[in-house]
Symmetry: C2
Subunit: 198 residues, 2 copies
């Protein structure tokens, strides 16, 4: 079965509709999705950014929010601007990195919904704990695993791989041949590529 | 007839496939395209950039060139990297701003082809002169009109309008209701919007 890695940062706006769309698009093509949580911070630091470029460059920020409104409206997805934006995503990313692929997918979509549909604070342990419980997991045990040394190293290795792959942002689809497709609007093209369609 | 403005900078990479695609997409929908040459320099200056962000941020640059290779291959468009990149586009933009809409479209596509398919230097008067001649125009008369005070003011006004519209880059489609769609990959969505399709 063809596989594609879906790389995402929880604080990233365009990753929200992408996370909600990718499974159906992949299933329709018979492509397996491997969920790869990572952190944009180290990638942004490489570019000299200590904040979201959508905050640093207000013209791009204003365009992005309007674009997100159109995208979410067309998909029937609610959209609330997180406050603050961007959200601190470290704990959510650690939890996601500790889960097996199916649970990671379920938890990831729950986090994006809480963040961008409900406006919840995803750095809040109570918020993530209730999402974990809704996934059928013991929240305290999940946090303990997420914050263990082994899992912290797993996430760190993932971020280093993202840097090595040259990911320009989030979300990205990464193919087994190393091809990278950046953006919610490239999911279809990336999944077609996974099937050998150019 | 519904209208959409196509705003573009000659040095912009993604504007090349967009300029080659926009007329057929618009004609298929019965939308009129108004060609709007402008300059990204003043927009980039607002963001603090004195070079193309694709040069300032190498990770984004590498991704963009690979993305352009895929896009141009899928459209059957030749692609050569301009040297230097970005090209100085001031003279080409002045010429384009001086032409009526149909000639502007013809000249614009010829410039993009010279720049990105043939690797020609578009700041070179001889290069632009031969493109003007191929459009059936007297090159010297066209340059004189392009570099007259009135036309320089026309281009300057256009750039100020681009700043006022909050264009985040090039290319953009701008609707009569002020909606902005940024990128070669948003042409279809923008032209659908022009028809009232949301």
């Amino acid at each position: 079965m063809a596989r594609a890695e879906f790389w995402y940062e929880f604080a990233s706006t365009y990753s929200y509709p992408a996370a909600m769309r990718v499974e159906a698009l992949a299933a329709a093509r018979g492509v397996e999705v491997v969920w790869r949580p990572f952190l944009l911070g180290p990638l942004f630091a490489q570019a000299g950014w200590r904040d979201s470029p959508f905050n640093i460059y207000p013209v791009k920020g204003r365009y992005m929010w309007r674009d997100m409104e159109r995208i979410c409206a067309s998909l029937g997805l609610p959209l609330t601007r997180p406050n603050p934006f961007p959200q601190n995503s470290l704990l959510a990313a650690r939890v996601a990195a500790s889960l097996d692929n199916d649970l990671c997918a379920q938890f990831t979509k729950a986090v994006y919904h809480a963040e961008f549909a409900e406006g919840s604070t995803i750095s809040d342990r109570a918020v993530l704990g209730s999402l974990l419980a809704a996934c059928g997991l013991d929240a305290e045990a999940a946090f303990a695993a997420a914050e263990g040394a082994e899992n912290k190293a797993t996430l760190k290795t993932g971020v280093e791989r993202a840097l090595g792959l040259g990911l320009p942002g989030s979300p990205c689809l990464v193919m087994e041949d190393g091809e990278v497709f950046w953006g919610n609007d490239r999911l279809e093209q990336g999944l077609d590529w996974a099937l050998g369609k150019r």
